[in-house]
Protein backbone atom coordinates (compact mmCIF):
# COMPACT_ATOMS: atom_id res chain seq x y z
CA UNK A 1 0.00 0.00 0.00
CA UNK A 2 1.26 3.47 -0.85
CA UNK A 3 1.02 5.94 2.00
CA UNK A 4 -0.80 9.25 1.55
CA UNK A 5 2.52 11.12 1.77
CA UNK A 6 3.99 9.06 -1.05
CA UNK A 7 0.85 9.44 -3.12
CA UNK A 8 1.08 13.20 -2.72
CA UNK A 9 4.78 13.14 -3.74
CA UNK A 10 3.90 11.08 -6.79
CA UNK A 11 1.71 13.94 -7.97
CA UNK A 12 3.75 16.86 -6.58
CA UNK A 13 7.12 16.09 -8.17
CA UNK A 14 5.90 15.35 -11.69
CA UNK A 15 3.74 18.49 -11.43
CA UNK A 16 6.69 20.63 -10.33
CA UNK A 17 8.89 19.06 -13.03
CA UNK A 18 6.24 19.86 -15.63
CA UNK A 19 6.01 23.43 -14.30
CA UNK A 20 9.80 23.72 -14.49
CA UNK A 21 9.90 22.50 -18.10
CA UNK A 22 7.01 24.79 -19.07
CA UNK A 23 8.72 27.63 -17.22
CA UNK A 24 11.87 27.05 -19.28
CA UNK A 25 10.06 26.72 -22.59
CA UNK A 26 7.75 29.66 -22.09
CA UNK A 27 9.98 31.78 -19.89
CA UNK A 28 9.36 34.83 -22.05
CA UNK A 29 5.58 34.51 -21.86
CA UNK A 30 5.20 34.23 -18.08
CA UNK A 31 7.12 37.44 -17.46
CA UNK A 32 5.38 40.59 -16.25
CA UNK A 33 7.34 43.73 -17.21
CA UNK A 34 10.52 41.70 -17.45
CA UNK A 35 9.95 40.01 -14.08
CA UNK A 36 9.90 36.22 -14.24
CA UNK A 37 9.43 33.67 -11.46
CA UNK A 38 12.01 30.98 -10.82
CA UNK A 39 9.99 27.78 -10.74
CA UNK A 40 13.13 25.73 -10.14
CA UNK A 41 13.62 27.64 -6.91
CA UNK A 42 10.12 26.62 -5.76
CA UNK A 43 10.91 23.03 -6.73
CA UNK A 44 14.14 23.10 -4.71
CA UNK A 45 12.54 24.64 -1.62
CA UNK A 46 9.86 21.93 -1.67
CA UNK A 47 12.60 19.35 -2.11
CA UNK A 48 14.56 20.75 0.86
CA UNK A 49 11.44 20.64 3.04
CA UNK A 50 10.39 17.13 2.03
CA UNK A 51 13.43 15.13 0.98
CA UNK A 52 16.90 14.35 2.31
CA UNK A 53 19.54 17.07 2.39
CA UNK A 54 21.76 15.08 0.02
CA UNK A 55 19.11 14.86 -2.71
CA UNK A 56 18.22 18.53 -2.30
CA UNK A 57 21.78 19.86 -2.60
CA UNK A 58 22.63 17.64 -5.60
CA UNK A 59 19.39 18.69 -7.31
CA UNK A 60 20.18 22.37 -6.62
CA UNK A 61 23.55 22.12 -8.34
CA UNK A 62 22.53 19.92 -11.28
CA UNK A 63 19.26 21.71 -12.04
CA UNK A 64 21.03 25.05 -11.60
CA UNK A 65 23.51 24.02 -14.31
CA UNK A 66 20.65 22.85 -16.51
CA UNK A 67 18.89 26.17 -16.04
CA UNK A 68 22.05 28.06 -17.02
CA UNK A 69 22.32 25.88 -20.08
CA UNK A 70 18.79 26.18 -21.42
CA UNK A 71 18.10 29.77 -20.40
CA UNK A 72 21.12 31.57 -21.84
CA UNK A 73 21.70 34.95 -20.30
CA UNK A 74 24.98 36.75 -20.76
CA UNK A 75 27.59 34.10 -21.37
CA UNK A 76 29.93 35.10 -18.57
CA UNK A 77 27.27 33.98 -16.07
CA UNK A 78 27.28 30.29 -17.00
CA UNK A 79 27.35 28.65 -13.57
CA UNK A 80 25.79 31.49 -11.61
CA UNK A 81 22.44 29.73 -11.10
CA UNK A 82 24.20 26.58 -9.93
CA UNK A 83 26.32 28.60 -7.50
CA UNK A 84 23.43 30.65 -6.11
CA UNK A 85 21.09 27.67 -5.80
CA UNK A 86 23.72 25.47 -4.10
CA UNK A 87 24.45 28.20 -1.58
CA UNK A 88 20.75 28.87 -0.97
CA UNK A 89 19.97 25.19 -0.42
CA UNK A 90 22.97 24.78 1.89
CA UNK A 91 21.82 27.76 3.98
CA UNK A 92 18.21 26.59 3.95
CA UNK A 93 19.16 23.06 5.00
CA UNK A 94 21.33 24.37 7.82
CA UNK A 95 18.57 26.69 9.05
CA UNK A 96 15.81 24.15 8.51
CA UNK A 97 15.67 22.92 12.15
CA UNK A 98 14.97 26.53 13.16
CA UNK A 99 12.63 27.37 10.28
CA UNK A 100 10.32 24.39 10.73
CA UNK A 101 9.82 25.32 14.37
CA UNK A 102 8.36 28.66 13.32
CA UNK A 103 4.58 28.92 13.18
CA UNK A 104 2.35 30.04 10.32
CA UNK A 105 3.24 33.46 9.04
CA UNK A 106 6.78 33.41 10.46
CA UNK A 107 7.46 30.14 8.64
CA UNK A 108 6.37 31.63 5.32
CA UNK A 109 8.15 34.91 6.02
CA UNK A 110 11.36 32.99 6.55
CA UNK A 111 10.84 31.22 3.20
CA UNK A 112 10.23 34.58 1.54
CA UNK A 113 13.42 35.82 3.21
CA UNK A 114 15.37 32.90 1.73
CA UNK A 115 13.98 33.61 -1.75
CA UNK A 116 14.78 37.32 -1.34
CA UNK A 117 18.37 36.57 -0.28
CA UNK A 118 18.76 34.22 -3.24
CA UNK A 119 17.61 36.86 -5.71
CA UNK A 120 19.67 39.56 -4.01
CA UNK A 121 22.83 37.46 -4.32
CA UNK A 122 22.02 36.43 -7.89
CA UNK A 123 20.99 39.88 -9.14
CA UNK A 124 23.84 41.76 -7.45
CA UNK A 125 26.30 39.50 -9.28
CA UNK A 126 24.30 39.45 -12.50
CA UNK A 127 23.84 43.21 -12.76
CA UNK A 128 27.20 44.16 -11.19
CA UNK A 129 28.54 47.13 -13.11
CA UNK A 130 25.32 47.54 -15.13
CA UNK A 131 22.80 48.85 -12.60
CA UNK A 132 23.26 50.33 -9.11
CA UNK A 133 22.40 48.10 -6.15
CA UNK A 134 19.33 50.07 -5.03
CA UNK A 135 17.72 49.69 -8.45
CA UNK A 136 18.64 45.99 -8.42
CA UNK A 137 16.67 45.63 -5.18
CA UNK A 138 13.46 47.49 -6.02
CA UNK A 139 13.31 46.86 -9.77
CA UNK A 140 14.31 43.19 -9.83
CA UNK A 141 14.95 41.49 -6.49
CA UNK A 142 11.72 42.44 -4.70
CA UNK A 143 9.30 41.81 -7.59
CA UNK A 144 11.02 38.55 -8.60
CA UNK A 145 11.00 37.34 -4.98
CA UNK A 146 7.31 38.19 -4.66
CA UNK A 147 6.40 36.46 -7.96
CA UNK A 148 8.35 33.31 -7.04
CA UNK A 149 6.91 33.34 -3.51
CA UNK A 150 3.42 33.57 -5.00
CA UNK A 151 4.07 30.39 -7.01
CA UNK A 152 5.35 28.72 -3.83
CA UNK A 153 2.15 29.73 -2.04
CA UNK A 154 0.05 28.30 -4.89
CA UNK A 155 1.93 25.00 -4.56
CA UNK A 156 1.40 25.16 -0.78
CA UNK A 157 -2.35 25.63 -1.24
CA UNK A 158 -2.54 22.41 -3.27
CA UNK A 159 0.20 20.41 -1.53
CA UNK A 160 0.76 21.87 1.96
CA UNK A 161 4.46 22.22 2.72
CA UNK A 162 5.27 20.06 5.67
CA UNK A 163 8.14 18.97 7.84
CA UNK A 164 10.31 16.02 6.99
Amino acid sequence: MISNEKKSSLILYPLLSLLFVLGILFNDFIGIAGIRPDILLVFLIVLALQESALIAIIAAFLFGLLQDLVLPATLQYWGLSALAKTLLLFTLLKLLPLIIRLRNILFFLSLFGMIFIYYLFYNLLYYAGFINWLTVIYRYTLPESAYTFLILMLVHMIFPLREK
Binding site: I24, L25, F26, N27, D28, F29, G34, I35, R36, A53, L54, I57, I58, A60, F61, G64, L65, Q67, D68, L69, V70, L71, P72, A73, T74, L75, Q76, Y77, W78, G79, L80, A82, L83, T86, L87, F90, L93, N123, Y126, Y127, G129, F130, I131, Y140
Partner: protein, 262 residues
Protein backbone atom coordinates in the same frame (compact mmCIF):
# COMPACT_ATOMS: atom_id res chain seq x y z
CA UNK B 1 42.71 6.55 10.13
CA UNK B 2 40.58 5.53 7.14
CA UNK B 3 37.55 4.92 9.33
CA UNK B 4 38.00 8.41 10.84
CA UNK B 5 38.12 9.88 7.35
CA UNK B 6 35.05 7.86 6.39
CA UNK B 7 33.21 9.09 9.50
CA UNK B 8 34.22 12.64 8.71
CA UNK B 9 32.92 12.34 5.14
CA UNK B 10 29.64 10.82 6.32
CA UNK B 11 29.20 13.46 9.02
CA UNK B 12 30.14 16.42 6.83
CA UNK B 13 28.83 15.19 3.46
CA UNK B 14 26.61 18.23 3.00
CA UNK B 15 29.45 20.69 3.61
CA UNK B 16 31.84 18.71 1.38
CA UNK B 17 29.34 18.53 -1.46
CA UNK B 18 28.58 22.25 -1.14
CA UNK B 19 32.27 23.14 -1.31
CA UNK B 20 32.72 20.93 -4.41
CA UNK B 21 29.64 22.36 -6.14
CA UNK B 22 30.58 25.96 -5.31
CA UNK B 23 34.09 25.29 -6.62
CA UNK B 24 32.77 23.84 -9.89
CA UNK B 25 30.32 26.74 -10.30
CA UNK B 26 33.09 29.30 -9.74
CA UNK B 27 35.28 27.48 -12.25
CA UNK B 28 32.49 27.62 -14.83
CA UNK B 29 31.87 31.29 -14.07
CA UNK B 30 35.52 32.06 -14.74
CA UNK B 31 35.33 30.52 -18.24
CA UNK B 32 33.56 32.95 -20.53
CA UNK B 33 32.23 32.07 -23.99
CA UNK B 34 32.75 28.35 -23.50
CA UNK B 35 32.40 26.78 -26.95
CA UNK B 36 30.77 23.55 -25.73
CA UNK B 37 28.20 25.53 -23.73
CA UNK B 38 27.45 27.70 -26.74
CA UNK B 39 26.86 24.67 -28.95
CA UNK B 40 24.61 23.02 -26.32
CA UNK B 41 22.65 26.25 -25.82
CA UNK B 42 22.17 26.67 -29.57
CA UNK B 43 20.94 23.08 -29.95
CA UNK B 44 18.50 23.56 -27.10
CA UNK B 45 17.21 26.78 -28.69
CA UNK B 46 16.85 24.89 -31.98
CA UNK B 47 14.70 22.31 -30.24
CA UNK B 48 12.66 24.67 -28.07
CA UNK B 49 11.94 27.11 -30.90
CA UNK B 50 9.71 24.43 -32.46
CA UNK B 51 7.67 24.23 -29.23
CA UNK B 52 7.39 28.00 -28.87
CA UNK B 53 6.41 28.58 -32.48
CA UNK B 54 2.58 28.65 -32.12
CA UNK B 55 2.63 31.11 -29.22
CA UNK B 56 5.24 33.28 -30.87
CA UNK B 57 3.32 33.40 -34.11
CA UNK B 58 0.15 34.43 -32.31
CA UNK B 59 1.94 37.24 -30.50
CA UNK B 60 3.66 38.21 -33.72
CA UNK B 61 0.33 38.41 -35.58
CA UNK B 62 -1.11 40.74 -32.94
CA UNK B 63 1.91 43.00 -33.19
CA UNK B 64 1.81 42.94 -36.96
CA UNK B 65 -1.80 44.17 -36.93
CA UNK B 66 -0.87 47.06 -34.63
CA UNK B 67 2.12 47.91 -36.74
CA UNK B 68 0.03 47.75 -39.87
CA UNK B 69 -2.22 50.53 -38.58
CA UNK B 70 0.79 52.69 -37.80
CA UNK B 71 2.41 51.91 -41.12
CA UNK B 72 -0.66 53.03 -43.11
CA UNK B 73 -0.30 56.44 -41.53
CA UNK B 74 3.42 56.46 -42.20
CA UNK B 75 2.89 55.51 -45.84
CA UNK B 76 0.96 58.70 -46.50
CA UNK B 77 3.73 60.81 -45.01
CA UNK B 78 6.45 58.82 -46.75
CA UNK B 79 4.78 59.10 -50.14
CA UNK B 80 5.23 62.83 -49.93
CA UNK B 81 8.88 62.41 -49.08
CA UNK B 82 9.32 59.80 -51.79
CA UNK B 83 8.61 62.17 -54.61
CA UNK B 84 11.33 64.48 -53.26
CA UNK B 85 13.71 61.58 -52.78
CA UNK B 86 13.22 60.27 -56.31
CA UNK B 87 14.52 63.42 -57.83
CA UNK B 88 17.52 63.31 -55.47
CA UNK B 89 18.21 59.67 -56.37
CA UNK B 90 18.29 60.48 -60.03
CA UNK B 91 20.64 63.32 -59.39
CA UNK B 92 22.82 61.13 -57.17
CA UNK B 93 22.91 58.35 -59.77
CA UNK B 94 23.97 60.81 -62.43
CA UNK B 95 26.78 62.10 -60.19
CA UNK B 96 27.91 58.55 -59.27
CA UNK B 97 28.05 57.61 -62.91
CA UNK B 98 30.15 60.68 -63.57
CA UNK B 99 32.56 59.65 -60.78
CA UNK B 100 32.63 55.96 -61.82
CA UNK B 101 31.16 54.67 -58.48
CA UNK B 102 29.50 51.26 -58.28
CA UNK B 103 26.98 49.90 -55.79
CA UNK B 104 29.36 47.94 -53.55
CA UNK B 105 26.75 46.40 -51.28
CA UNK B 106 27.34 42.62 -51.09
CA UNK B 107 24.78 41.88 -48.40
CA UNK B 108 21.19 40.81 -48.30
CA UNK B 109 18.87 41.74 -45.45
CA UNK B 110 17.27 38.67 -43.93
CA UNK B 111 14.35 39.52 -41.59
CA UNK B 112 14.49 37.59 -38.30
CA UNK B 113 12.26 37.44 -35.27
CA UNK B 114 13.69 37.58 -31.75
CA UNK B 115 12.24 34.45 -30.20
CA UNK B 116 13.94 34.73 -26.83
CA UNK B 117 15.39 37.72 -25.04
CA UNK B 118 17.28 35.95 -22.29
CA UNK B 119 16.43 34.70 -18.85
CA UNK B 120 16.83 38.06 -17.19
CA UNK B 121 15.83 41.54 -18.18
CA UNK B 122 18.66 43.56 -19.70
CA UNK B 123 20.62 40.63 -21.06
CA UNK B 124 22.58 41.18 -24.25
CA UNK B 125 22.07 37.66 -25.60
CA UNK B 126 19.08 37.08 -27.87
CA UNK B 127 17.85 34.09 -29.84
CA UNK B 128 16.78 34.56 -33.46
CA UNK B 129 14.50 32.30 -35.48
CA UNK B 130 16.93 32.04 -38.39
CA UNK B 131 19.88 29.69 -38.57
CA UNK B 132 22.30 27.94 -40.89
CA UNK B 133 19.40 26.80 -43.10
CA UNK B 134 18.85 30.49 -43.92
CA UNK B 135 22.53 31.13 -44.64
CA UNK B 136 23.17 32.66 -41.20
CA UNK B 137 26.74 32.14 -40.00
CA UNK B 138 28.78 32.94 -36.92
CA UNK B 139 29.61 36.68 -36.91
CA UNK B 140 26.74 37.54 -39.28
CA UNK B 141 25.90 41.16 -38.51
CA UNK B 142 22.50 42.09 -37.09
CA UNK B 143 20.86 45.45 -37.71
CA UNK B 144 17.43 46.96 -37.43
CA UNK B 145 15.94 49.94 -39.20
CA UNK B 146 17.70 52.34 -36.79
CA UNK B 147 21.19 50.86 -36.90
CA UNK B 148 23.60 48.27 -35.62
CA UNK B 149 22.28 45.66 -33.17
CA UNK B 150 25.08 43.10 -32.82
CA UNK B 151 26.41 39.86 -34.26
CA UNK B 152 25.60 36.17 -34.33
CA UNK B 153 27.79 34.24 -31.92
CA UNK B 154 26.51 30.75 -32.63
CA UNK B 155 24.29 29.52 -35.45
CA UNK B 156 22.11 26.43 -35.17
CA UNK B 157 20.11 24.93 -38.02
CA UNK B 158 16.88 26.81 -37.38
CA UNK B 159 17.89 29.38 -34.77
CA UNK B 160 20.94 31.31 -33.67
CA UNK B 161 22.31 33.01 -30.59
CA UNK B 162 23.34 36.62 -31.01
CA UNK B 163 25.11 39.16 -28.82
CA UNK B 164 23.92 42.76 -28.88
CA UNK B 165 26.56 45.48 -28.76
CA UNK B 166 25.71 46.75 -25.29
CA UNK B 167 27.95 44.79 -22.96
CA UNK B 168 30.89 45.94 -20.85
CA UNK B 169 33.46 43.99 -22.86
CA UNK B 170 32.21 45.04 -26.30
CA UNK B 171 34.52 47.33 -28.30
CA UNK B 172 33.58 48.70 -31.71
CA UNK B 173 35.70 50.42 -34.27
CA UNK B 174 33.72 53.53 -35.20
CA UNK B 175 33.86 56.59 -37.33
CA UNK B 176 32.36 59.96 -36.35
CA UNK B 177 30.49 61.77 -39.07
CA UNK B 178 30.90 64.24 -40.66
CA UNK B 179 34.60 64.64 -39.66
CA UNK B 180 35.42 60.98 -40.47
CA UNK B 181 37.56 60.56 -37.37
CA UNK B 182 38.08 57.00 -36.13
CA UNK B 183 37.84 55.70 -32.56
CA UNK B 184 36.80 52.86 -30.30
CA UNK B 185 33.31 52.76 -28.83
CA UNK B 186 32.50 51.15 -25.47
CA UNK B 187 29.15 50.54 -23.82
CA UNK B 188 28.62 52.97 -20.94
CA UNK B 189 25.29 52.28 -19.21
CA UNK B 190 21.68 51.77 -20.24
CA UNK B 191 21.34 52.80 -23.87
CA UNK B 192 24.46 54.98 -23.85
CA UNK B 193 27.99 54.53 -25.11
CA UNK B 194 31.34 56.23 -24.58
CA UNK B 195 34.32 57.06 -26.80
CA UNK B 196 37.47 58.23 -25.05
CA UNK B 197 40.28 58.02 -27.57
CA UNK B 198 39.54 60.91 -29.94
CA UNK B 199 42.22 63.61 -29.72
CA UNK B 200 41.06 67.13 -28.81
CA UNK B 201 42.89 68.44 -31.86
CA UNK B 202 39.87 67.29 -33.90
CA UNK B 203 36.56 69.11 -33.60
CA UNK B 204 33.71 66.94 -32.32
CA UNK B 205 30.21 68.27 -31.61
CA UNK B 206 27.07 67.07 -29.90
CA UNK B 207 24.48 65.74 -32.32
CA UNK B 208 27.01 64.24 -34.72
CA UNK B 209 26.48 60.63 -35.67
CA UNK B 210 28.63 57.60 -34.97
CA UNK B 211 28.89 54.80 -37.53
CA UNK B 212 30.87 51.62 -37.99
CA UNK B 213 34.27 52.33 -39.48
CA UNK B 214 34.62 49.22 -41.61
CA UNK B 215 38.05 48.59 -40.08
CA UNK B 216 36.78 45.60 -38.09
CA UNK B 217 36.72 42.07 -39.50
CA UNK B 218 33.07 41.68 -38.53
CA UNK B 219 31.15 44.90 -39.09
CA UNK B 220 31.00 46.54 -42.52
CA UNK B 221 31.37 50.30 -42.81
CA UNK B 222 28.71 52.97 -42.42
CA UNK B 223 26.13 51.19 -40.27
CA UNK B 224 24.64 53.85 -37.98
CA UNK B 225 25.29 53.24 -34.27
CA UNK B 226 24.22 56.35 -32.36
CA UNK B 227 24.32 60.08 -31.80
CA UNK B 228 26.75 62.05 -29.65
CA UNK B 229 25.00 63.65 -26.68
CA UNK B 230 27.85 65.08 -24.61
CA UNK B 231 31.43 66.07 -25.38
CA UNK B 232 33.86 66.87 -22.56
CA UNK B 233 37.62 66.91 -22.26
CA UNK B 234 39.39 64.12 -20.37
CA UNK B 235 41.54 64.83 -17.30
CA UNK B 236 44.78 64.81 -19.28
CA UNK B 237 43.31 67.25 -21.79
CA UNK B 238 44.58 65.31 -24.82
CA UNK B 239 41.45 63.35 -25.59
CA UNK B 240 37.68 63.85 -25.49
CA UNK B 241 35.23 61.98 -23.28
CA UNK B 242 32.38 61.53 -25.70
CA UNK B 243 29.03 60.18 -24.56
CA UNK B 244 26.22 59.23 -26.87
CA UNK B 245 23.01 57.32 -27.24
CA UNK B 246 22.47 54.26 -29.39
CA UNK B 247 19.93 54.66 -32.18
CA UNK B 248 18.56 51.17 -31.56
CA UNK B 249 16.16 50.80 -28.59
CA UNK B 250 17.61 47.42 -27.58
CA UNK B 251 15.00 46.65 -24.92
CA UNK B 252 12.08 47.08 -27.29
CA UNK B 253 13.52 45.14 -30.19
CA UNK B 254 11.27 42.45 -31.63
CA UNK B 255 12.45 42.01 -35.19
CA UNK B 256 15.88 42.50 -36.71
CA UNK B 257 17.66 42.01 -40.01
CA UNK B 258 20.63 39.72 -40.47
CA UNK B 259 23.17 40.73 -43.08
CA UNK B 260 23.84 37.59 -45.05
CA UNK B 261 26.38 37.22 -47.81
CA UNK B 262 25.01 36.63 -51.28
Amino acid sequence: MLSKLYDFIIRKHLEILTVIFVGVSLLLLSRTENHVVLVLQTRWQDFSSVMKKPLLEREHKRRVIDENKQLRMDIFRLNQELSQAQSLIMENQRLRDMLGFRDTSEYELLPALIVYKGYKDGTNIITLNKGRNDNVRENSVIVDKDGLVGRVISAGKRSSLAAMIFEPEARLSICINPVRVYGILKWHHGNTFMIDDIPTSVEVREGWTVMTSGLSDIYPANIPIGRISKVTSSENGFTYLIEGEYFVPFRNLREVFILTHD
